[in-house]
């Protein structure tokens, strides 16, 4: 693998930062150079959030730019649409089939687009979707939605499953480990 650019996009509060932390740890275990760029502060309050994870021989800029993402992991449908142009030709789009209405939609100033996933799938053939919220619920904690998605994404990379599992063990707090390992397994086998 020469280089791998992954974007995690979602809504502030969905647990994207934990997912990026696991990803960074995975990269380090593979002894790639890695940069993980996150934004804290105001946008974490229910705003649109993005994390860039770049792996390679040598990584300079921490940012992934338009047309450069090998994988986009979208925690929410509208965010998948928002960041679509960052996907490179043939890149993989992974979408959580969850809808969170932004305030302009809630107050009737904007419209939430219809059939987002179908439209993306029609135009970007390397797209998969999953109801991660439901799977996380079945695993025993809806907050584990981030790790379900990570499991699904892990299958899309050529990095061994054991490396992902050991990274989760390093990053996730002990008392939440069991449910998160279950969530990873569920996401991984859903692919």
């Amino acid at each position: 693998m020469e280089k791998l650019n992954i974007m995690i996009v979602g809504v502030g509060g969905q647990g994207t930062l934990l997912a990026s932390r696991v990803l960074g740890t995975v990269a380090l275990k593979n002894s790639y150079d890695v940069k993980v760029s996150e934004v804290h502060g105001m946008s974490q309050r229910g705003g649109s959030v993005v994390t860039y994870v770049k792996l390679g021989e040598k990584v300079y800029s921490p940012l992934i730019e338009k047309g450069e993402a090998d994988i986009i992991l979208a925690f929410e449908k509208l965010e998948a649409l928002r960041w679509l142009e960052y996907l490179k030709d043939g890149g993989r789009m992974i979408i959580n089939d969850q809808r969170i209405d932004p305030m302009p939609v809630i107050i009737g100033k904007a419209r939430y687009p219809d059939n987002i996933i179908a439209k993306i799938k029609d135009n970007y053939h390397n797209t998969i979707s999953i109801d991660a919220l439901n799977i996380a619920r079945q695993c025993g904690n809806i907050k584990a939605v981030n790790i379900v998605l990570l499991g699904l994404m892990a299958k899309s990379t050529d990095i061994g499953k054991d490396i992902w599992v050991s990274a989760i063990k390093e990053v996730v707090p002990e008392k939440l480990l069991e449910v998160n390992l279950k969530a990873f397994e569920a996401g991984y086998s859903a692919a």
């Binding site: 932390r21 996150e38 804290h40 105001m42 990584v59 300079y60 921490p62 996907l87 419209r111």
Partner: protein
């Protein structure tokens, strides 16, 4: 050992390895995690100070007393701490003193986009700027050496993308730093005119020595490639430039003040065309051009916002990125919102109903300026709400004052709202100040402050009693109210704005994200009871959604704070999951 670290975490590691024993800060994005990580080292005393000025004064005291000390803040925090900065430049240090300042190009979480490098020049303090986490750690270590060698504080500037990017760091050993001797030295540390005049001479001598150092230091390094183009750059802009220009020659500036003038002249002589790539202001560029060197910089590179490799490629080479056309869809914006369960929502509901003028401040509650709350009229800087409300009343008279409130968080009030409130009392103002006591500093990610009763290490401490404090400075009307008890809260606000004297309302309810805050679980709407009057929509909760033909609760978001039940006249909300 290699570890993946945020830039901020690496700064903390650098401080630890340098033998720092005192660290002080006021939280501010993107600098907060520096001191949060320092607090994890038992060897270092650390504290959240009430504001940046105090934190720098604490660090200065520690330095004069012989310890290596560090103080961290965001760019606008340095405005608050500027007063001690300019004078500690004159006194110099005893133990090394490093001041971390984190700029926020693009304003991800800030009210302006100032370039803190100007402070280095204005205060005659050297400044370093790392470009990744490894450099964060190394530069902090070196900053302490420079501080002691040249007898001056050292500024280290970060930007959001360095502070909040994780990259690999090779950990080093902690150095064995011994506390330096303390001796009385008024000629050096008491800055009265007679002493300060002599110290200013020392400062100018130091600048010459520092410039020589900058020319020789490995902090400034040339990476030779093709000599057709030479790029002078610093900090995160270096990373973008490396991707945009590829195999050309680079002069990477790690010491941004004072600049290595001879090195720059030498570099420029050896390349055909010079580009200066820096984020925000033409700080390096103006100094280079003053040396009569031909270079291209801000003629093409924007002074506004963040740079990126694509932006540089576009501006320098005219390469327009052919991004794949978006689906033909309008994507609605997703601005940040107050969280489900947020205590501020109840307060804003009342303020909006009473159609008050709102002099606002900095914190999560600033989000009350956005629709649908749309109730905040001003937001300038930390603490400004109180003084500004007073000024509004003095400009437009008492009747206007009676339709005006200041809204300020507990931590922001301690930071610099207190002085404004004293002004109101002293100068016979009539303002009503609402202090939002949510038991934590919220926006920056839950830090303790003097009103929470806990230190940065989570140890119990004396808690500032806001009621007694207001009483002590002469406010006789102090009310404490729960913003989720909407009726009572409205009654109190009405009474206090009408009062013929200044008053304080303490809006007391903990942040919904605090671990100990427990709600009863998600609600849903009983569609048979709902009359679609949309009163519940008016509180601006992100989990209550208008679906066109009905109103719906997003159960994955709802925490069950029940504020909506208090505005619903038809008892339409019920616990989700019950049948």
């Amino acid at each position: 050992m290699k570890k993946l670290m945020l830039g901020n975490e690496a700064v903390a590691r650098g401080a630890y390895e340098a033998g720092v024993t005192v660290a002080a800060a006021y939280p501010g994005t993107p600098s907060t995690e520096i001191t949060e990580n320092i607090a994890k080292y038992d060897e270092i005393y650390s504290e959240w100070s009430p504001n940046e000025k105090v934190s720098l004064e604490v660090a200065i005291g520690a330095s004069i007393a012989g310890a290596r000390s560090i103080c961290s803040m965001k760019h606008v925090g340095l405005n608050v701490a500027a007063d001690p900065l300019f004078t500690v430049s004159y006194t110099g240090v005893n133990g090394g003193l490093v001041v971390m300042v984190a700029d926020d190009p693009g304003m991800h979480s800030s009210q302006n986009e100032q370039d803190s490098r100007h402070y280095a020049r204005a205060s005659k303090v050297p400044m370093l700027e790392p470009a990744d986490s490894q450099e964060c750690k190394e530069f902090v270590r070196q900053a302490f050496e420079i501080s002691e060698k040249f007898d001056c504080p050292v500024l280290v500037r970060l930007s959001t993308r360095v502070a909040h990017s994780q990259s690999t760091v090779e950990l080093g050993e902690k150095c064995d730093y011994k506390l330096k001797d303390y001796s009385k030295n008024p000629d050096k540390y008491v800055m009265m005119p007679a002493m300060a005049r002599k110290r200013h001479v020392e400062v100018e001598k130091r600048m010459t020595l520092l410039r020589d150092f900058s020319n020789e230091s490995s902090l400034n390094a040339i990476e030779w490639g093709s000599k057709d183009i030479g790029v002078i750059t610093c900090g995160i802009a270096y990373q973008y430039a490396r991707e945009a220009f590829g195999d050309v020659s680079y002069l990477k500036i790690g010491m941004v003040y004072p600049l290595p003038d001879k090195l720059i002249a030498d570099f420029c002589r050896q390349v055909k065309k010079v580009y200066i790539i820096e984020e925000l202001e033409p700080f390096i560029e103006e100094q280079v051009k003053k040396m009569c060197i031909q270079a291209t910089g801000k003629e093409i590179i924007p002074v506004i916002g963040e740079l990126s490799a694509q932006l540089i490629r576009e501006k320098v080479f005219g390469k327009n990125h052919a991004g794949k056309a978006l689906l033909n869809e309008t994507v609605p914006l997703r601005p940040p919102v107050m969280c489900p369960g947020c205590p501020h929502r109840g307060m804003y509901h009342v303020i909006k109903k009473l159609k008050l003028n709102v002099s606002g401040d900095i914190g999560c509650y600033t989000l009350g300026a956005l629709p649908p709350t749309a109730s905040m009229d001003t937001c300038i800087c930390m603490g400004a709400s109180v003084g500004a409300a007073h000024g509004m009343e003095k400009a437009r008279g008492k009747e206007f004052g009676k339709k005006t409130v200041a809204v300020i968080g507990d931590s922001t009030f301690i930071h610099s709202g207190i002085t404004g409130l004293i002004d109101v009392v002293y100068n016979k103002g009539n303002s009503t100040v609402i202090i939002l006591d949510n038991s934590i500093t919220g926006m920056t990610g839950h830090q303790h402050n003097p009103t929470t009763g806990y230190t940065i290490k989570g140890e119990p401490t004396r808690q500032v009693d806001l009621v007694k404090l207001a009483n002590a400075i002469g406010i006789e009307r102090v009310r404490v109210a729960d913003p989720f008890n909407i009726k009572e809260f409205e009654k109190i606000v009405r009474e206090e704005i009408e009062a013929e004297e200044p008053s304080v309302i303490i809006s007391q309810r903990p942040c919904a994200l605090l671990k100990h805050v427990k709600f009863k679980g998600a609600l849903r709407i009983n569609l048979e009871k709902c009359r679609k009057c949309k009163m519940c929509m008016s509180i601006g909760c992100p989990s209550i959604v208008d679906k066109g033909d009905h109103i719906e609760v997003n159960e994955a978001l709802c925490v069950g704070c029940e504020l909506c039940t208090k505005v619903c006249s038809f008892n339409a909300f019920e616990k989700a999951g019950d049948n």
